[in-house]
C-alpha cells in the first residue's frame, strides 16, 4: 500500500501545474495588437515582479505548498487557501504578476522531498531530506543550510549541476509557461514569464529577477539560467545569456537587481565585477540589460542610508537589520560598503562613471516588489503573509530571530510588508508593461497604491495644473525615467502625488537631486516641494515641521485627520548650474501608519519586543524613477 501511495503522489506531482497548451493565441503571445492602446498611460498598472512559489527551492523548503496556479489566482483577485490553511483574498487585484522562482534547483527541492529516501545517496542531501521531513522548524533549518551551502559553493554535486538538472528543469519551465498563458488576459491581467538568477558568491547578494517580454513560443526556446555555484561566476554571464536569447528568438529580456542592501558593497561598484577598471562597453551592457532596480521589498529598503545621507531625516526607512551584513552573514558589513549598496549613491556613482567613460551604467528606474516566498503577493501592512510560510500570520512571529545561516543579527520584525511596482503603460499587455520598464516609466511603493506623476522640461508654466497637464507633460517634456539635454536654463518639474484611495493621506512630496560638482565630487540634496497644511506647517531653518501622528498604538488604527489627499506643484531647480549632470527623483511620504507588527500585536494580543515596539509605526512611501539632466556632449 505504501508504494502505491508514493507512485500515485509522484504521478500527481508530475502532472501538477496542469496540462500544456490550450491557451488562446491572444493569451500566449506578447499581447501586441490584442487591445487598444491609450494615447498615453492613463493610470498606473500595479504588480509584483518578484514572487516565489513552491517551485522555488527555499520557498518549498520553508514549507510553501502553493504553486504558480495558486499565485496567479490570488494575484488576479480570487480567494485561495494559504499553506497554513488561512483563506486569503486581495481586496484589490493586481494588474500583472511576474512569478520569479529561483532558476537554481528549479523544482529540485520538491523533487528531493518527494524522492524515496532510500534513493538519496549523498549524505548531505539525505540529512536535508530528513530535516525537511522532521518538522517545519527543522525544514527551515535545512533551508538555511542549503542557502549557506549555495553561497559557500559547497552544495553536493548532482544538486546544482545545470546539465544534470536540465531535463527536470525543462519540464517544470515548460509547464510553467503554459500555466502563465492560461492565466494571461490581455487588457485585464498580465502574466510575464521570468525567474530569479541567484548569484550570491561568498554570501554577497547579487540576485537579479529576469523578465521576458515574449509569449511562450519564444520563451520555450530557452531555459532559466542559474548561478553555477562557483566564485568565478559573474553577472556578465547572465548578460551573455540574455543577448543569446534575444539573438536566437528576436525576443526581449531584462534583468532587475534586488537586495543590493545585502551585497556588501558589490552591487554597484565603481569598477568591473573583477576589480578591473570600468569601461564604456561594460557600462553600456549593464545599462542596457538592467534598466530598472528593485528599491524596496520584504528584505528591506535600498533607497537610502543615514551613513550616506546624514542630512536626510527619512533615510533610515527599512534599513534596520539588513544593514548589518550580506545575505548569509549578518555581521560582515563595514561602513565603506554602503556606497555600493544603496540606490541614491549608485545613481550618483553612475554620474561619476559617466564623466570618466562617457556611459552611465547606473541609469536605472525604480520599482518595488514583494519577494514573498508564500506564493501570495501581499504588499500591505494589514495583510502581511510573511516572507515565507514559516512566518505566515501567528502571534509570536514578529519577535523571532531569523537565523538564515546564523542565530544573530536579524529578527522577523525587520521584514517589511513588501512593495509593489507601478508601471505607466498604455495597455495591460506583456509588451506594453515590458516596454514601460525598458523606458523606466515606472515607480516603487512600499505597498500603498498612490498615483505619482513626474514630468520634466524647460517650458512648463506655473499654472500647468489648470490645463491638460498630463498631455502637455508628454508633449513638452519627458516623464519619469526620461532624460533631458541641458539647454542652459533651469529644468522645471511638474509633480503630482495622489493618495491611495484605500490608504493613508500624504505628508509631503520631495525631490531628491544628485549631481557632480565642479571639483568632480558627487553631491545630493533633498527639497520639500509640496506638503499638507501649508498654512500651519511653515519652513523654519530649512526644515519642515513633522506632519503629526494619529496612530493609536493600542488599537493599531490611524486617522486621516492630518495629511492631504493630493499634493501638486510645479518646481524649478533653484541650484541649477549649467554643465552639471544631475538626476532628480520624487519621494512621496504618507502620514505615519501602523506597521504589520503592530497589527499582529493587536490581533494576536502579543507583546512586542522593545526594539520592535519602537519600530511599530512608519511613514510608507513611493520613489519615482529619476529624470536625468545631461550636458549635450554626452547626449541623452
Amino acid at each position: 500500500m505504501r508504494k502505491f501511495m508514493i507512485s500515485v503522489a509522484a504521478l500527481s506531482l508530475l502532472s501538477a501545474c496542469g496540462m500544456g497548451g490550450g491557451a488562446s493565441e491572444d493569451a500566449s503571445g506578447d499581447g501586441t495588437g490584442t487591445v487598444e492602446l491609450a494615447e498615453f498611460p492613463e493610470r498606473p498598472l500595479w504588480g509584483d515582479t518578484h514572487l516565489h512559489t513552491d517551485n522555488s527551492f527555499d520557498a518549498f523548503g520553508f514549507g510553501a505548498r502553493l504553486g504558480p496556479e495558486d499565485a496567479l489566482r490570488f494575484a488576479s483577485g480570487e480567494e485561495v487557501i494559504s499553506t497554513t490553511g488561512v483563506s486569503a483574498k486581495l481586496s484589490r487585484p493586481l494588474d500583472f504578476l511576474v512569478i520569479a522562482d529561483h532558476a537554481e534547483l528549479l523544482g529540485g527541492i520538491r523533487r528531493l522531498y518527494d524522492a524515496p529516501r532510500v534513493m538519496i545517496r549523498d549524505e548531505t542531501m539525505r540529512k536535508w531530506y530528513d530535516m525537511m521531513h522532521e518538522s517545519p522548524q527543522e525544514s527551515q533549518r535545512a533551508m538555511s543550510e542549503i542557502i549557506a551551502a549555495a553561497a559557500a559553493n559547497t552544495l553536493p554535486a548532482g544538486m546544482n549541476d545545470p546539465e544534470a538538472n536540465a531535463e527536470a528543469i525543462a519540464g517544470v519551465w515548460t509547464a510553467h509557461l503554459d500555466t502563465l498563458d492560461r492565466f494571461n488576459r490581455p487588457g485585464k491581467f498580465t502574466t510575464l514569464a521570468g525567474y530569479e538568477y541567484s548569484l550570491v558568491p561568498g554570501g554577497n547578494n547579487l540576485h537579479r529577477v529576469v523578465v521576458f517580454r515574449d509569449g511562450s513560443e519564444k520563451t520555450k526556446q530557452t531555459l532559466p539560467f542559474g548561478w553555477d555555484g562557483t566564485d568565478e561566476a559573474n553577472v556578465s554571464q547572465l548578460w551573455d545569456y540574455m543577448e543569446g536569447y534575444e539573438k536566437a528568438t528576436g525576443g526581449s529580456v531584462l534583468a532587475i537587481p534586488h537586495n543590493s542592501n545585502m551585497s556588501d558593497g558589490t552591487m554597484f561598484e565603481l569598477t568591473k565585477h573583477d576589480g578591473g577598471p570600468m569601461t564604456a562597453e561594460y557600462a553600456r551592457r549593464r545599462a542596457e540589460h538592467e534598466p530598472i532596480v528593485e528599491a524596496t521589498q520584504i528584505k528591506g529598503d535600498s533607497e537610502s542610508h543615514p551613513f550616506l545621507s546624514p542630512n536626510d531625516e527619512f533615510a533610515s526607512f527599512g534599513d534596520v537589520g539588513w544593514e548589518l551584513g550580506n545575505l548569509t552573514d549578518p555581521s560582515s558589513k563595514e561602513n565603506g560598503m554602503f556606497a555600493g549598496e544603496y540606490l541614491r549613491e549608485a545613481l550618483k556613482r553612475g554620474l561619476t562613471i559617466e564623466q570618466q567613460t562617457g556611459v552611465n551604467p547606473y541609469q536605472f528606474g525604480m520599482i518595488g516588489s514583494t519577494d514573498s516566498h508564500t506564493a501570495l503577493a501581499t504588499g500591505d501592512e494589514d495583510n502581511f503573509f510573511g516572507k515565507h510560510t514559516g512566518n505566515e500570520p501567528r502571534g509570536e512571529r514578529g519577535n523571532e530571530a531569523q537565523n538564515l545561516g546564523t542565530r544573530k543579527g536579524r529578527f522577523a520584525w525587520n521584514y517589511l510588508a513588501g512593495g509593489y511596482a507601478a508601471v505607466w503603460a498604455r495597455a495591460n499587455t506583456r509588451a506594453e508593461i515590458f516596454d514601460a520598464m525598458e523606458r523606466r516609466e515606472v515607480y516603487a511603493t512600499t505597498g500603498p497604491r498612490m498615483v505619482v506623476r513626474l514630468f520634466a522640461g524647460f517650458d512648463f508654466a506655473d499654472d500647468a495644473f489648470d490645463g491638460d497637464w498630463v498631455r502637455d507633460g508628454y508633449a513638452n517634456g519627458v516623464p519619469m525615467g526620461g532624460a533631458l539635454v541641458d539647454e542652459g536654463k533651469a529644468p522645471r518639474f511638474v509633480v503630482s502625488a495622489l493618495k491611495d484611495p484605500e490608504g493613508a493621506n500624504l505628508d509631503r512630496v520631495q525631490i531628491v537631486k544628485g549631481w557632480v560638482d565642479a571639483s568632480g565630487n558627487t553631491q545630493e540634496r533633498i527639497y520639500d516641494i509640496a506638503w499638507s497644511d501649508p498654512a500651519n506647517r511653515l519652513m523654519s531653518g530649512g526644515k519642515l515641521p513633522a506632519v503629526g501622528d494619529t496612530v493609536d498604538r493600542a488599537k493599531a488604527t490611524y486617522e486621516n485627520s492630518i495629511g492631504a489627499a493630493e499634493l501638486n506643484t510645479v518646481w524649478t531647480d533653484p541650484d541649477y548650474r549649467e554643465g552639471q549632470n544631475a538626476f532628480y527623483y520624487v519621494r512621496v511620504l504618507e502620514i505615519p501608519t501602523p506597521r504589520w507588527t503592530l497589527f499582529d500585536a493587536v490581533r494576536f494580543g502579543v507583546e512586542l519586543s522593545a526594539e520592535s515596539a519602537a519600530n511599530a509605526v512608519s511613514q510608507e512611501r513611493a520613489y519615482s524613477s529619476p529624470v536625468w539632466l545631461n550636458s549635450p556632449k554626452t547626449g541623452a
Binding site: 500500500m1 508504494k3 500527481s12 494588474d95 532510500v118 534513493m119 492560461r182 484611495p501 484605500e502
Partner: protein, 268 residues
Amino acid sequence: MTLPGWTREPLVHFLFGGLLLFAFFAWRGEDVDPASRSIDISREQQARIALQFERTMQRAPTDGELDALVDQYVREEVLYREALRLGLNNDDAVVRKRMAQKMDYLAASRAETQQPSDATLQAWLDEHPARFAPDSRFSFDQLWFAEKSAADAAKARLDTEGRWQDLGERISLPSSLDAASRSDVTARFGSEFAANLEGGAKDEWIGPVRSGFGFHLVRLRDATNGPVPPLAEIRDRVENDWRAETMAKRRGEAFAILRDAYDVTLEQ
C-alpha cells in the same frame, strides 16, 4: 446500450481505480501488509534502486554500492514495519500530515491531469455564468470635495450653475468616465466609491458619496452588464476555474465517503 448513471460517477471511478491498484500490487506480491515479516526484493525493485542512484550521481552504481543500497533499503523497511507495529506513527504530526496530504493528492490527481471536454466546460459555464460575466461598466460624472459641507453647498447650486465642471475642487481624478469597468473604477476611486455606483439612479446628481479622497457628487449616466462571452473566447478561464473547483470537490467528496464510515464522539 446505456450504462447506469452511477458508472459515470467520478467517485466510483476513483474508488474503483484505487481498488484496481491495490489488487495489482497485491497480485504483484508487493508488501501491502506492514505486519508481515518477510521482505522480498524483486529484480524490478533493485532496478529502481539502481536507477534512482544513477539519476542522482549521473552514473550507474557499482555492485558494492548496489549491495549497500539494498542493505539500506532493507534496514529502513525493517525499522519502518517495526515502527508501525509499535504504533510510532500514531503521535507523529509530520507522518499524519504527510499521509493525509497523500490521500488528498490521490483524490484530486485525476482532476489535475484530466482534459475536460467542451461539453463539460460548457456545462460549467452555464452553471456559473456570473463568474465569467464581464465587469459591469459605468459611465458617470463626478465632482470632488475635501469636506462634506462643501459638497452639500455645491449640490444646492448644481441646478442653477451653467457648468457643473466648475463647481468641484481640483484633484487628479477624471471628472467623467465612459464605459469604465468596475475594476478600473475601483483602481482609481477605491472600493467604497465603486460599490456606490451599483444600482444607482441614473441621470441625476447624488451624494455626497464618500471615498478615500473625500466626498463626491456623482451623476451616473449609464451602467451595463455585458453578456457572458461564448466558451471559445474564455476557454482558459473556464478550464482554470473548473479544474480548481473540481479538485477541491473531489477531495471533499472522497473525504466525506471515508468520514461516513467513522463514528466520532466528543467527550463533553
